[in-house]
């Protein structure tokens, strides 16, 4: 279990306890993304290993750090899980089953059950656009392209530990493109969400628009990049 956390001391303890109750026996690693509060202490107290970043890198940076941790220590599977309690621990076995069934990566969708996850008009349109672009460029329909709840198998861990996209939002969408382009199979499973247990939601309107625009630039760049087997991707291996 990989849990990126930035200033989540309030919600993290309950999240960790709940996870332990449902998926006992899994190693839990909290990547403390330069938090200013007691996130690292709370994580340690609730039995998680803590990887502490010296300053805030954003979710993407925290996840990449966690993936490098998993790669270096030979983990076969990684589940990325939110610290704020929005993700339901019952989703974890669902994701892992998808990996066992042969997928290289599994994405938990908030929308597969209608009416489960409500978003504003602006965000809904932006997500609709992303849905179409990603569907077109990967040839696969994802109902939820920006879900943070995902599981990775070993080959994908090794691939993404090298150059997981670190910019906000890109870390979820671009990964779908990167992983399908590299020839791995992604499964989408239904994982209902819950309301936030604490912490601030990470979106302000204008900021969100700018971020989606920036994300589009990133996606276009990603689409136009050379296919695997080209000079650059060989260098990475």
């Amino acid at each position: 279990m990989l849990i990126p956390a930035y200033n989540e001391a309030d919600a993290l303890g309950a999240t960790l306890d709940e996870l332990k109750a449902i998926v006992a026996g899994l190693d839990v690693v909290v990547v403390d993304d330069g938090s200013l509060d007691a996130t690292a202490a709370v994580a340690a107290r609730h039995g998680a290993r803590v990887v502490r970043l010296p300053f805030n890198l954003g979710v993407g940076g925290a996840v990449r750090t966690g993936l490098r941790y998993a790669r270096d220590r030979g983990y076969d599977r990684v589940v990325v899980f939110d610290a704020d309690g929005q993700h339901n621990p019952a989703s974890v076995p669902v994701l892992l089953n998808a990996l066992d069934a042969g997928a290289d990566m599994a994405v938990g969708s908030r929308f597969a059950v209608p009416g489960n996850f409500e978003v504003g008009v602006l965000r809904r349109h932006a997500m609709g656009l992303l849905h179409r672009i990603v569907g077109w460029s990967t040839g696969q329909q994802f109902t939820d392209t920006t879900s943070g709840l995902r599981a990775f198998g070993r080959p994908v861990i090794e691939r993404l530990a090298v150059d997981y996209p670190v910019e906000y939002l890109a870390d979820t969408v671009e990964v779908l493109l990167m992983v399908t382009k590299a020839g791995y199979r992604i499964a989408e499973v239904s994982t209902p969400m819950r309301p936030r247990a604490g912490g601030e939601p990470s979106s302000v309107r204008l900021w969100l628009v700018l971020n989606y625009l920036r994300l589009l630039v990133g996606i276009l760049a990603s689409i136009s990049r050379r296919r695997p087997g080209s000079r650059r991707s060989k260098k990475l291996r």
Partner: protein
């Protein structure tokens, strides 16, 4: 020489002196020093002999000589700024990688205790 020529000459010379000073204090990488010095060196003759600019703009087919200067300056500054954005992105990526490395090493050290 007009007063304007003198002013331009002083500014150009001042720029050269300032850049050389920064290099001597190890506060400016020599590649940037070379960049800015070449600009200053190009500007000094223009200050002394403004006729050069007229001939240059004639060559390019520009009627109003000062606009040739603006065009050159804009193009140059544009490339410099793009170059800086590029370099800044590279530096940020390196700093991120270092931060991650530190976090991982720190976790390793705590494990081995």
């Amino acid at each position: 020489m007009t007063r304007l020529n003198v002013l331009a000459l002083v500014l150009g010379a001042g720029a050269i002196v300032h850049i050389l000073r920064l290099v001597r204090l190890h506060q400016l990488r020599s590649k940037y020093a070379l960049l800015w010095l070449s600009i200053a060196v190009l500007l000094v003759p223009l200050a002394v002999a403004p006729g050069l600019l007229d001939r240059f703009s004639d060559l390019l087919g520009i009627d109003y000589a000062p606009s040739a200067l603006f065009l050159a300056a804009l193009a140059f500054l544009f490339f410099v700024v793009v170059h800086f954005s590029w370099e800044l992105s590279r530096l940020e990526a390196k700093v991120r990688a270092l931060a991650e490395e530190i976090a991982l090493l720190r976790a390793q050290r705590e494990d081995s205790r």
